[in-house]
């Protein structure tokens, strides 16, 4: 391990000034919700710790996580993170291919047994012995298990690795399975989203490398600093929600005024992510700011929650186009009708009985 350079060495070698380096440390501390006292700690860790090797494997996925990752808003963050995580294997980003690439994977596993971080993008399909996703001539699930065996920790990038995403949507023909259901004996950190926000991804990695431990996780195994609140809780359109001012139709006057998109099926109130604070593309915007509701991409099974444009979710068990109000309203109407009929029969019976007695 001693032969590996420190993060700081790498940064300096890349022509990053110390001033920029300190800026990066402050930015990272702020992004992670840490106080100013942590800036020198991050700097010290960067200056003295050897880089941690990362193996980045790809299962069933669309590479949107990688695309997001390399577009981290602060260019320095991207450069630093990409170089500091001595990315020893990433079949999308690495130069090597074929046998050489697979050899690099094996080398890294053996060289850093128990010390490397396994980043998983996408998930393994388990049906047909995993034949729906082949990497290097073998089912991906085998590569995943092999690489996970000696990993220190696993990062599940995106909705695919965390929850299954679109390939696991009902009826899930390939039985695409999230990572934590295949690897059960390693600490796993979920970073859901389709894709996750770039700053969230770099922030998680920086935290793990700086403090040498997993960040605080919530009940679902997501880093609490980015996923502990809903989009809705920090949405800039929230005052319109509380006022009861909603967009009623796309392109109506209320839409132009930027009212709340709740009635248009915005999933902000049920989605845990940092979009409404961190935003996307260098903090330019996020879906709601662009006038479209949140689709809830960082939630478990978000493809199976009915239309992106309905407030009330369709419940498939009750037919194709039924939501809670339709199911409940119909049941209430049926019961109400039955009660009315029953009351009428009761009245008749009672009258009949009185006649008999009279």
């Amino acid at each position: 391990m001693s032969t590996i350079e420190t993060f700081y060495d790498v940064m300096r070698r890349q022509g990053i000034t110390r001033r920029s380096f300190m800026k990066y440390c402050s930015l990272t501390a702020a992004a992670l919700g840490l106080g100013p006292a942590y800036v020198p700690k991050i700097a010290e860790a960067m200056e003295t710790k050897p880089r941690t090797p990362v193996i980045w494997v790809h299962g069933l996925e669309c590479t949107c996580c990688s695309e997001s990752f390399i577009r981290s808003a602060h260019p320095l963050a991207k450069d630093v993170v990409l170089s500091m995580i001595s990315l020893d294997y990433d079949d999308t980003l690495m130069a090597a291919a074929g046998t050489a690439a697979e050899a690099a994977l094996q080398d890294t596993i053996e060289k850093y047994k128990g010390n490397y971080i396994l980043a998983v993008e996408g998930n393994p399909p388990l049906n047909e012995d995993g034949m729906f996703c082949i990497v290097g001539g073998k089912p991906f699930v085998e590569q995943l298990k092999h690489a996970a065996e000696h990993a220190k920790a696993i990062i599940s990038w995106g909705a695919c690795a965390s929850y299954g995403c679109v390939q696991a949507a009902a009826p899930n023909p390939t039985r695409a399975t999230p990572v934590h259901k295949v690897i059960t004996d390693k600490p796993i950190i979920k970073v859901p989203g389709c894709p996750p926000i770039a700053e969230v991804m770099t922030g998680v990695i920086t935290y793990m490398l700086t403090f040498d431990r997993l960040p605080e996780l919530d009940r679902q195994g997501r880093p609490a600093m980015f996923y502990s609140q809903r989009i809705h809780d920090k949405c800039y359109r929230r005052p319109h929600f509380d006022a009861g001012q909603f967009v009623e139709h796309w392109d109506d006057d209320y839409a132009r005024k930027g009212y709340c998109l709740y009635k248009m099926g915005c999933k902000g109130p049920t989605t845990y992510n940092a979009c409404s604070t961190v935003r996307w593309n260098d903090g330019v915007s996020f879906p709601i700011q662009s006038g479209h509701g949140c689709i809830g991409c960082s939630e478990d099974g978000f493809w199976d929650q009915g239309s992106f444009y309905d407030r009330l979710t369709n419940i498939k068990q009750f037919g194709i186009e039924a939501n809670a109000d339709k199911v409940g309203g119909t049941a209430a109407a049926v019961v109400g009708g039955a009660v009315a009929v029953h009351a009428a029969v009761s009245a008749l019976k009672r009258a009949q009985k009185k006649n008999e007695e009279a």
């Binding site: 929850y163 919530d218 009940r219 679902q220 609490a224 502990s228 609140q229 809903r230 809780d233 005052p239 319109h240 929600f241 509380d242 006022a243 009861g244 001012q245 909603f246 967009v247 009623e248 209320y254 009212y259 709740y262 009635k263 999933k267 109130p269 049920t270 989605t271 845990y272 809830g296 939630e299 478990d300 099974g301 978000f302 929650q305 407030r311 009330l312 979710t313 419940i315 939501n323 809670a324 109000d325 199911v327 409940g328 309203g329 049941a331 209430a332 019961v335 109400g336 009660v339 029953h342 009351a343 029969v345 009761s346 019976k349 009672r350």
Partner: protein, 258 residues
Amino acid sequence: MSDKIFHPAREAHEIFEASRLTGDATLADLESIRHSTSVYVYQAPVRIWHWVNALAITVLCVTGYLIGRPLPTMQIAEAYDQFVMGYVRFAHFAAAMILTVGFFGRIYWAFVGNSHARQMFYVPIFNPRFWRELLWELRWYMFLEKHPKKYVGHNPLAHVAMFCFMTLGLTFMIGTGWALYAEGAGQGSLPDTAMGWLLGLVQNSQRLHTLHHLGMWAIVIFMIIHIYAAIREDIMSRQSMVSTMISGHRMFKDDRID
């Protein structure tokens, strides 16, 4: 000595004199009020809980529906001066807290109250006789039995309905409701510590919303049946119903034994 033997304090012609003076009481009436009895069934805390609970549920159903399907957009003032959805949600949460406190109070009363206060919380499912009586009561509702039976507390059918929709139903609604409230209260808050695990169990908050919403409709259906059955029983059964939940006394209309 002779304390245990009933000695009318008055002469026979003075008994029920007041009733006779009104002029409408027949001899059969007087005979009847001499026989008919009442039982004190619902103690004051149970009655108070019933009506507070009924009011809270009504508020919760209306406001809950309006949270799922908000009122049309109103432009009374600028957003910072207008709080329509906010008040709807406030009413929902306030009623929910009253309902929760009431439910815990009701559970407490099951321990310290009379035997009727306990009936709602258990169903004697292992007693075959109970199931036979349940079937009998079903037959009464299907007009297959000519005369109803006398019950002091809930009849077996009402007993099961009360257990399923109130004991289990309210537990479900309070549980899911507080889990949803915990989302806004934030991680580490008391509601989150108490009920946040439920969201972890259901995984997706949207699913939790749908379950809570369906629960509301179950309660609405119960309300329809409950109010209808109470009024119908009051008229057609052999004991009082509606007034019992006001006075606590179950009054019986005849002195026949079943």
